[in-house]
């Protein structure tokens, strides 16, 4: 029985997820690129005076790293705080997972401590942010009224992924560098080898299974927001300056009545 579960989670699901991710991403990106019209206007930028590519990039950078557009909302602080906590937490956690497939030149002891303290703290921050956002969604009638199955499904999966991830990092602390890491590398290099991960704890199995289901779902639901906005013409294109080139004082524009002189015509 164990081997059926392990075969499903460690061999079938990873490749199903990979296919779902690639196909889904292709479908999405194609649909974003094929929609070309922007209702007849030269610029639909939402940020004023972004006349240069540098300004657009600067704004995108601020948008992503500071969530500044949420910073002075009229009545709502939870969204700003929750978004910052969750996204910073989850990004650090995700980046840390790279150590599973990319060799890092540090001792196993140090690695383990970084995982515990940095990983644990980031995971807790992400979890706290997520609970704040979920609480806001459920607790505020106005937000609840614009929440749908999709919103809860993605968040529900994430709660599971994070809870079981935190259980590993903070409570069970299994040795994943000799089990999960070689297995993951074998999957990503298309030479699947389930031997190292055989017999891994249930918490790890659930964490991996939920993560794979979540990843497979990413291109089909709201999680595409992570890349979709990069295709949004309102934040990725410049506007054009007007008024910078007013005809010179000696041009015909200003020729009707020389200053101080009598009326012409």
């Amino acid at each position: 029985m164990d081997s059926v579960i392990e075969l499903t989670v460690f061999l079938v699901l990873p490749y199903v997820t990979l296919v779902a991710l690639v196909v889904g991403a292709a479908i999405r990106i194609r649909s974003w690129l094929s929609a070309r019209a922007i209702t007849g206007l030269r610029s639909v930028a939402v940020v004023p005076n972004t006349f240069r590519t540098r300004g657009v990039l600067k704004d995108l950078f601020r948008r992503v790293f500071t969530f500044y557009t949420f910073s002075n909302m009229e009545t709502d602080r939870t969204l700003y705080v929750g978004s910052l906590l969750f996204h910073y937490g989850i990004v650090i956690v995700l980046a840390s997972h790279l150590a599973l497939v990319v060799p890092v030149p540090i001792s196993a002891q140090l690695h383990s401590e970084i995982a515990l303290y940095l990983g644990g703290a980031s995971g807790l921050a992400a979890f706290a942010g997520l609970l704040l956002l979920l609480g806001r969604r459920v607790g505020r009638p106005r937000i609840r009224s614009v929440s749908f199955f999709d919103d809860y499904f993605a968040v529900g999966l994430l709660v599971g992924v994070i809870v079981f991830g935190l259980l590993q990092t903070l409570v069970f602390r299994p040795d994943y560098m000799d089990t999960v890491s070689p297995w993951l590398i074998s999957i990503l290099t298309f030479q699947p080898n389930l031997a190292p991960i055989a017999g891994v704890g249930t918490v790890t199995i659930v964490h991996i299974a939920l993560t794979l289901i979540f990843l497979a779902y990413v291109p089909y639901g709201k999680m595409v927001h992570v890349v979709a906005y990069l295709f949004n013409p309102t934040v990725t294109r410049t506007s054009q300056p007007v008024g910078a080139e007013i005809p010179a004082p000696d041009s015909g524009l200003w020729a009707a009545r020389p200053r101080g002189g009598p009326d012409e015509r």
């Binding site: 019209a37 709201k222 020389p258």
Partner: protein, 463 residues
């Protein structure tokens, strides 16, 4: 008065615009012919929405990227004023989402199993009602972290509805007048000329300046104000004329397209283009080298984002009148005496389409600083400005209950800093303030006045 819709907090569905009658709709078809098809309204609207989602990138991204975080609820004047979630950016978009769910195919069956109901005619009318309560002020786009511009979605949805003959009577009337006469109010050339002459007489009396004004005559530049300036905002008109005279600008008015406004922007790209292309045609016919825009928010956005690129194709330059006043002031070609505008506390409130879509934020401030002595920014200013409450084609009597609610946001803003005079250089703002300020002032026992910016320039200009 009985029969008027009453507004309860949390439900604004009772305030519905009058819809254009078939005769009026058929007049608009000259520019935007309806797609061939059967008269199954709900089905055709759904097909139109599906096409808008497929072809318009703004709409596509809005549908795909929105995570329903509700930040726009907190930014939207329509939602904050009415508390009706369908009268909000995300709520309106949800009506579209609902309309697109649950038809055809296995996916549709699955969605129906989850409770989706195919769009019916009542659904279409709900869609139309709420999409005509949107001010298209773009405050949602400013707050959305992904920059999702629901005002653009509004324009696309209204375009789909207009394709099926469902369009606000007011907006349709204005577009029809504009396409037939060259201005929104349908003013005939003699009326425009006599208004200009009337203003010349007033300037003569008030400023002791007497000068000729070109109308439909050859000149270096063509000047295009909103038609409301020939009707309601004569102080603004006097401001332009006096500035042009003192700075020596060689310009002409036109009676053939006496309109900066472009209601096509509110509804349909095809009308936006038709009205704007007519203006470009007049500029080419008059062989001007430059076109100057007057004070009008949405008109400026249409001008900047559509007309100017077209003019440039023909080697014609363009700018807002503020750009010219600033240029002349910096050179010392015109002088201001700010004391002429008294000690009144003026508050500048950015028109939406200047601050969010027109890149005209610092220019009016540069001028106001020089023409008045006591000025302040509104607490919600620049790109966080409140809409006047009449934008997006809502400047019509039957929507007055909503317009009054929307107006309270900027009115409270102004009162909070003790403003005595609100400056909004936009024809729609001025018309909205003209209609709502008396009521708001009465309700709060205040005496807040309003004007454009060129009105104040007029008084401050040293002859």
């Amino acid at each position: 008065m009985s029969g008027k819709p009453t507004l309860t907090y949390g439900d604004s569905s009772s305030v519905v615009p009058f819809w254009a009658k078939p005769e009026l709709v058929s007049k608009l078809e000259k520019v935007a012919p309806h797609p061939e098809g059967t008269k199954d309204l709900a089905r055709d609207v759904r097909a139109g929405l599906r096409s808008a989602v497929a072809h318009n990138r703004n709409v596509r991204i809005a549908v795909d990227a929105c995570v329903h975080c509700g930040a726009c609820l907190d930014a939207c004047p329509a939602y904050l004023a009415t508390g009706d979630v369908h009268n909000s950016p995300v709520g309106r978009a949800d009506l579209v989402r609902q309309a697109l769910k649950g038809d055809g195919g296995p996916l549709g069956r699955l969605e129906r199993w989850f409770g989706a109901r195919p769009l019916d005619d009542a659904g279409v009318h709900a869609l139309a009602t709420y999409y005509y309560q949107c001010l298209e002020c773009r405050r949602c786009g400013e707050t959305c972290v992904f920059g999702i511009d629901q005002a653009d979605v509004t324009r696309s949805v209204r375009s789909v509805l207009a394709d099926q003959g469902l369009v606000s009577r007011y907006v349709a009337t204005v577009i029809e007048a504009s396409e037939r006469t060259g201005n929104n109010l349908g003013l005939p050339p003699p009326a425009i000329k006599s208004t200009i002459d009337f203003c010349r007489d007033e300037i003569k009396e008030e400023k002791q300046l007497d000068f000729p004004v070109k109308v439909d005559a050859p000149a270096y530049a063509l000047f295009v104000p909103p038609s409301a300036d020939f009707f309601l905002n004569l102080e603004t008109l006097k401001g332009y004329m006096t500035f042009f005279h003192l700075a020596g600008v060689d310009y002409t008015f036109t009676t053939e397209h006496a309109e900066l406004g472009n209601f096509g922007l509110f509804v349909d790209e095809k009308h936006l283009r038709a009205i704007a292309d007519h203006l470009v045609g007049i500029a080419r016919k008059l062989e001007v080298k430059f076109v100057i825009a007057g004070e009008c928010g949405h008109g400026w956005r249409a001008f900047k984002q559509y007309v100017i690129p077209r003019l440039e194709e023909h080697g014609i330059g363009a700018a807002h009148v503020f750009h010219l006043v600033i240029d002349a002031a910096k050179r010392g070609a015109v002088k201001f005496d700010p004391t002429k505008n008294g000690a009144t506390r003026y508050v500048y409130q950015d028109p939406c389409n200047y601050a969010r879509g027109g890149d005209l934020i610092d220019e009016p401030r540069f001028l106001l600083e020089r023409v008045v002595t006591n000025r302040q920014d509104s607490p919600h200013s620049r790109e966080r400005t409140w809409c006047c409450g009449g934008g997006g084609g809502m400047l019509t009597d039957e929507l007055m209950p909503l317009r009054l609610e929307y107006a309270k946001l900027w009115f409270d803003d102004a009162l909070s800093i003790g403003a005595e005079h609100v400056v909004r250089p936009c024809a729609i703002c001025k018309a909205q303030l003209n209609a709502t300020l008396p009521k708001l002032n009465k309700a709060r026992s205040t005496k807040v006045a309003y004007s454009g910016l060129m009105d104040l320039v007029y008084r401050a200009l040293v002859p």
